[in-house]
Point group: C2
Chain length 199, copies 2
């Protein structure tokens, strides 16, 4: 199936191609579509739906959209839906991933409850009344300092006790199996398979 | 898997048991839970999520919730999320299904565009950050008069051109394959299978 990915990010496209290897994934620009959405929802789910709808109503193919982030209970759920721009408003400039991690670790200094979870809400949108959603998590612990070179975003400061590694230290195939995005993608993959077989 | 159905309706339980035959479906009362939700969302999805959350936060098992209705473009989407109580406010009493169908046909008198679609939003809720949703439709035509004895609700006034029958005339097994609720259930069934196999 050809699917439009509601993202301008070719890195995310590669990740999705590995999760949905039987499908052809196009970025909006490759399908001649404009993608420009204000992510002002209050939840991951609302933002993902908003992205999906903005393209779904102009695309001839199904649209896949996701919204992801890191929720930390000790910080009242922050960075949450603001994960990608966390600290940028407070510091007055666009932080890069390394700076953002430093900003987060500073906030977590002395905090005992270091639990966190990554969340991914993924939407497969076929029409305004026909869509499928999977929201999955990956649970872990916020480290005291970054570790590992792989992954991206908060991966170096997110430790998985059952693997004894941060997400940035995990082999890439393993990350795609156990991550919030990998698991949500697996649910969507099941639905796509079922759709193909039964109608 | 044992699943709590967010409904007080044993008829709906039977339908879901047929759609998810490999799972044990319990009504809230059978799990010692109280189910009392005001369905005041603005969409099928919001109402289904609200029902799922109200039980999910007290249940030890996954919760399945759905919200369904009939949307008619010529009536600006009515009865929509008010399908189960359509006409009751206007007439000042609780209409039964037959009266509700008569009320709808009266509203549709002389209306040329008789397209309608049934919608079902179904939620499988595992935790506040982990849930799966399928929203499916069944497209058809609003009849001029009721036909058929099977099904329930608006089924006798909903005609499927490709079968030459109203939903109330369809064999029950066929209805469960092609209906909005049957199709949404099939997507959830895929996800449950995937969950069982891969974690």
């Amino acid at each position: 199936m050809t699917i439009i990915l509601a993202s301008g990010n070719s890195h995310k496209r590669k990740e999705i191609e590995k999760i949905l290897p039987d499908h052809r994934i196009l970025l909006p620009s490759e399908a001649g579509l404009t993608f420009d959405v204000e992510e002002d929802g209050e939840t991951y789910l609302e933002n993902a739906l908003k992205k999906a709808r903005s393209l779904g109503n102009q695309a001839e193919y199904p649209v896949l959209a996701d919204d992801s982030g890191l929720s930390i209970p000790a910080l009242n759920g922050e960075p949450g839906i603001f994960s990608a721009r966390y600290g940028s408003e407070e510091t007055g400039r666009n932080l890069e991933a390394g700076e953002r991690n430093a900003y987060l670790l500073e906030k977590m200094k002395g905090v005992k409850n270091r639990q966190g979870f990554f969340v991914c809400a993924m939407v497969l949108y076929l029409s305004p009344y026909r869509f499928f959603i999977a929201q999955e998590t990956m649970d872990g612990i916020i480290t005291e300092s970054p570790r590992g070179e792989g992954g991206f975003g908060y991966d170096p400061v997110f430790f998985l006790p059952e693997y004894g590694q941060t997400v940035a230290e995990l082999p890439w195939e393993l990350k795609n199996q156990i991550s919030h995005r990998g698991k949500a993608g697996a649910r969507i993959r099941s639905i796509l398979k079922e759709l193909k077989e039964h109608q």
